[in-house]
């Protein structure tokens, strides 16, 4: 390994900076292009009076800068009270709590299930189809049932939001389980035989060989799960009568869409930002843990 590393040309500092600048530049260009696309579409449709697929005006497609201005404006007009962004970020933090708890439960549970199924072939053959089937059940159906079942049994500190976390966990565990199984079975055969020849037990093989081999797979799953847990939390909030999260704001703003279209868009922006930050956290964790992520995975 050391000799190979030495063969790589050492990049001069200016080169690194130039590449970083190029990356930032591309991101800005993409953002500008998206902005142009939105505003251009808007302008063209209004100009031509086209009504297909929908009538374009300030209500159906507000200016992007108006949406961001709405975020900064006071939530309640008259110059009093918090800014909309403050209200929404507070809601996002509450939803993040549910999503994070659900993600943790789902990831740990999903991993444990994956380990179990990877070791017992019979169990895997019997259970995996049902685990797949569980994900074909619409979450909108599962959510109210979880609320009705789990809520009465939860202690006061977990009431309402605990049930939402379980719904988020339901969306989280599946990719983790499936990828854990695949990852654990992806360990190098020769390495496995070597371990066996040293009389290593299953437990030792799992932690020393299979688990490290599975890590890239698991992180690929965690990245999917991270955003899914946010979606699960948002959907879970709807039947659980939670006024503090982003879900309540979504209902509220969709009701008043006619008069406050920017509010719903602003909520969308924050909800998207929440999902993206979950994804980024997992990405950073992956960069720290897996130094050698094969690019050809998922």
């Amino acid at each position: 390994m050391a000799t190979m590393a030495a063969e790589l040309p050492v990049e001069p500092r200016t080169e690194v900076i130039r590449r970083a600048a190029a990356r930032v530049g591309t991101s800005i260009l993409v953002l500008a292009a998206l902005w142009g696309l939105w505003e251009g579409y808007r302008w063209l449709w209004i100009q031509e009076g086209w009504t297909w697929p929908f009538i374009v005006n300030d209500t159906t497609m507000p200016h992007l800068h108006d949406i961001f201005a709405a975020l900064w404006a006071k939530a309640s007009p008259g110059g009093v009270g918090p800014r909309l962004i403050t209200v929404l970020v507070k809601g996002a933090l509450f939803t993040a709590k549910e999503a994070a708890a659900g993600f943790a439960i789902g990831a740990l549970g999903g991993f444990a299930l994956g380990v179990l199924l990877a070791h017992f072939r019979l169990l895997q053959r019997g259970l995996l189809p049902w685990i797949v089937a569980s994900q074909t059940v619409p979450i909108l159906v599962v959510a109210p049932m979880v609320v009705v079942w789990a809520n009465p049994k939860l202690p006061d500190s977990l009431k309402d939001w605990g049930a939402v976390a379980l719904i988020a966990a339901f969306l989280t565990f599946f990719p983790v389980t499936v990828n854990t199984i695949r990852g654990l079975q992806s360990a190098d055969r020769r390495a496995l035989e070597l371990m066996r020849s040293y009389a290593a037990g299953d437990w030792r093989i799992l932690w020393k060989l299979r688990f490290p081999a599975a890590l890239p797979y698991i992180f690929a799953a965690l990245k999917i799960s991270a955003t899914a847990s946010v979606v699960g939390a948002l959907i879970g909030e709807l039947p659980s009568s939670i006024p503090n999260g982003l879900g309540a704001q979504i209902i509220n703003f969709s009701q008043y869409y006619t008069t406050q279209p920017r509010g719903l868009w602003a909520t969308n922006v924050i909800a998207a930002a929440l999902g993206i930050s979950f994804f980024l956290i997992v990405l950073i964790a992956e960069k720290l843990v897996v130094r050698r992520a094969p690019e050809n995975l998922v």
Binding site: V87, P155, W161, L215
Partner: protein
Amino acid sequence: MKHGRYWIGGVAAFATAIGIWAAVGTAATPTKHSEQKLTKITFQLKWVTQAQFAGYYAAAAKGFYKKAGLDVKIRVGGPDISPEQVVAGGQAQMGLDWLPSLMSARDQGLKLINIAQVFTRSGMTEISWKDSGINTIAKMRGKKVGNWLLGNEFELFAALARAGMDPVHNKGVTIVKQPFDMNLFLNRQIDAASAMTYNELAQVLETKNPKTGNLYKLSQLNVIKMSKIGTGMLEDGVFTTESWIKDKKNQETAKKFLAASFKGWIYCRTHLKDCVKIVLSHGPTLLKGHQTWQMNEINALIWPSPKGIGLMNAKDYAFTAKTTAKYNKLKKVPGHEAYRTDIAKAAQALMKKQHLDIYGKTWKKANVKVTPGGK
């Protein structure tokens, strides 16, 4: 060695996950219960926080519940929440919903019972543009008529049927499912739209006409009120389960709850602005102008209350029962067994002792100006 590093990293990742779990778990430490003498009850609203429920929020904010010895938790509703299911499932002791919804739930076997009819009259209207000439239900023949459906359509259907149309089978009229917002109507994709006096009607008036840049005016609209044309049904009422209310102790609790809630509504009758403020404190993104309009219109659905707030009007009940049975295909027309008036009467007696005016005969609607965008 290399594997060892992975191992530590992996454990660290999961430890962080557990850490987050533990942190959020402890972050939500239970609120302390210093006042243990208060009777705890949960009340399920029909919809998200808005002035439609101001009376209950006012009763909480003004300490009326506490004074009555109650610790009331108000649960908000939403599109996926059926108050009947929540109350039947024991997650709340009492709930608020339109009477037809309660009747339908009963018909499906839920043992629920109305104990107070808070709204005296219906807030449902069907609106159309004045220039369309559709100023009666009869003129909706052959037109596209909007409604939210899912149990909100009975009043409109009864009115259309009376005018000789068959809305159930789209004969003589085309029923269009209307979303929560009023865009279909504003864009003239439908000829008439359902609108509650306290919500959607205001939403239309708060919108600027893109052609003129001015707000739409009430004079540009035909507003056909169901309560005026005789097909109005009973809306917001308090209900509970038959088994819960059987208990004498719970009857006492319910009586106190109703009296305190009615007191909240009486407070809002005279303190419009204050009640709007209370509602806004529970919904920081709600708009003041819109909620002020709503508060005023909600008051008009309760006051004046000829029988005193909370008491069921048997004639209106019968019409609601008959219409719901017809359009929601109930197994039988709900009779007297779906409501009781003794608790509301006891609450009224309690309030009379406190010299509260439970009728509001002299109440007059305030003149609330519509604001652009509801601000």
